[in-house]
Subunit: 375 residues, 2 copies
């Protein structure tokens, strides 16, 4: 069984997947690089709160992301079945919900969700919906909620496509630099909304390399960040273009929306996720990505800073232990596992599982029934 | 500076690239899993000599690959410029040459190579040419040697495409099982020659997934190994097919020809190598591959066993520290670095470099001149 510390280390966005972390990655793991500053041509890591290593672009003004990381190292007891929903609801100000397996399954709403969200809103709780899926923008996700009959505001949705744009803003990524995108439309739409120049994306999906002796692929020297998300039209052209930018453009960032092994294209089987595209670029650049999606805490840090929320006042609700619950724990939040998605009770209670949420329950509408029995 | 032990650990084929090696990978690093046997549905690792973890398929008869690993943990002195070629030549029986940067550069032969090979042959030395490139078969490589005016026999060539077939033979991979190939023609040709059934390869290069609700990709349950090599026509179809086989077919192997970050499609720039395709499948399966190319010592182990060569009687000649020289050292061979490829003298002598060959020289034809001066 892994120790708690091991699990935390394995979840760090910058080091995940590395057998041979560079000295600086080790320093990041140990939290040794607080408050350094750097220039674009020679980036230096600015350690942020929790475990998201934030990079500053020509600025050292990153203090809003620089806090203590000690809260993560608390020991948690075994998970308890949720018996008193009111007590949990009253103890927090904000609920962060993972979507697939919590709000919906594929294209079907999970029972009792609208009423549960109504209850929480009536109690003045802030609701936030977080997903690692980067193929859609906030706006496109808003439409999905609407189609399912849910009244959710665009500002309440945090997809990893939005997280990319929010991250670039948080580091003052220069507007005259460009972003090369390996991924689908959602990332492009969010970059456009945030006013960033981009290239790549679906447009490079059909491109081939026409090899002949002495041939080299030209690349734009103004690309300052390569963003990698799930991409059904992934190809060698994109691998080589992104690799060239990361290897040859000084200070070029390598940002991943997530490293999920699995994504849910259809419910009929598990589909290879964004972790495969990120793994490819890691394999050719030998660089570790900055991950903006779960379990990296960037989205939570952003929320906390943007809305002035204390993380201890947040409850993270999810169906996956190694992304959702770890994401909540990494951020120092309360955590609730729902069994309406991929995790079964026997997996949760297995001696091989070292990720223990504070509470677990069958589905979020248990908030209603558990409330009823305790009134 | 990394310690010698760290460098060795980072080079292990099965664990390279893993931040979070499974318990069994750690055990392999520590050499704890010697001589286990297993069945196809529940594979168990059979540790081999040096660092190649060999898998047995329905057989525990792998003793010819089971030897001591202690020879790797010797300390080496700083590299010496080669001053007496005859002494080195006389001290070994076999020379293993890397090709690109040693024999040729792109499509150009390096000065003095034919005469040097003639000299070594005249002294009764066995010559072997090893390359991580899997896009060509032995036969196709033989033609390249011929075009360059070199008289090299097919049996003297060890490309990683051949290593895949040789590896499958070494574990008695059942002939009724199939191999799914992510890679180019060389692998298919070698599998065919060895009598294995395969699918995938270039044929899947143009395939798209036509998504609709409830869609699932069917895969062949008889695939017992997924082989991943460099593939210019890499796509999401191949990622998903390979991932399904590895995840869902009991005991299915994940074999990589190599994990090179860079390959040499043209000399005009560095091209993303087989490490990107392997990284993608690692990202979606969360499994580590078995690597048959350098720096894993499978090819050397095979040579030693096939021809009855003592490894201390081999000199590995290469232009790369972290593949060629490490490959030689991992195998317990003498090592000679030539500066005719990617490694410069200043990189070799940098305090950051911890991989020290026994000797170094400018190019292999120094064997001629250094011989002349000492006669």
């Amino acid at each position: 069984m892994l120790s708690r510390t091991t699990v935390i280390a394995a979840s760090l966005s910058v080091s995940a997947g590395s057998a041979n972390p560079s000295k600086s990655n080790y320093s990041r793991l140990l939290g040794l690089n607080n408050n350094l500053s750097y220039t674009a041509s020679n980036p230096v890591i600015v350690s942020s709160n929790s475990n998201f290593a934030s990079f500053a672009w020509n600025t050292s003004n990153n203090s809003k992301y620089t806090k203590s990381r000690m809260e993560r190292f608390t020991t948690r007891a075994s998970p308890q079945p949720l018996t008193n929903a009111d007590e949990l609801i009253d103890s927090v100000q904000t609920f962060i919900f993972d979507c697939d397996g919590v709000i919906w399954k594929g294209d079907k709403l999970i029972d009792g969700v609208p009423e549960t969200l109504d209850l929480l809103r009536s109690k003045g709780k802030r609701l936030v919906f977080v997903t690692n899926n980067s193929t859609k923008s906030r706006k496109q996700y808003g439409k999905k909620f609407e189609t399912l009959g849910l009244n959710v505001n665009e500002e309440e949705i945090f997809a990893s496509s939005f997280a990319v744009a929010a991250y670039l803003k948080s580091i003052n990524f220069p507007k005259d630099k460009k972003v090369y995108v390996i991924g689908e439309e959602g990332i492009l739409k969010e970059l456009e909304l945030a006013g960033y120049q981009y290239l790549g994306g679906p447009e490079d999906g059909g491109k081939k390399i026409d090899l002949k002796p002495g041939f080299l692929m030209e690349h734009d020297e103004n690309v300052g960040a390569v963003v990698v998300g799930f991409d059904r039209n992934f190809n060698y052209y994109k691998i080589q273009y992104g690799t060239l930018c990361i290897r040859e453009n000084p200070g070029c960032l390598f940002i991943a929306t997530n490293r999920d092994a699995v994504t849910h294209l259809t419910d009929a089987q598990e589909w290879a996720g964004g972790g495969s595209m990120v793994g490819a670029i890691r394999g050719s650049t030998q660089r570790e990505p900055l991950v903006v999606g779960k379990p990296s805490t960037f989205m939570m840090d952003y929320l906390a800073n943007e809305f002035g929320i204390l993380k201890s006042q947040i409850c993270m609700v999810g169906d996956r232990l190694d992304t959702d619950i770890l994401f909540g724990q990494n951020g120092g939040c309360k955590t609730l596992l729902v069994l309406s998605g991929v995790t079964t009770l026997s997996v949760l209670q297995s001696p091989n599982n070292s990720i223990q949420p504070d509470f677990y329950t069958n589905k979020i509408s248990d908030f209603l029934s558990l409330k009823a029995t305790t009134v």
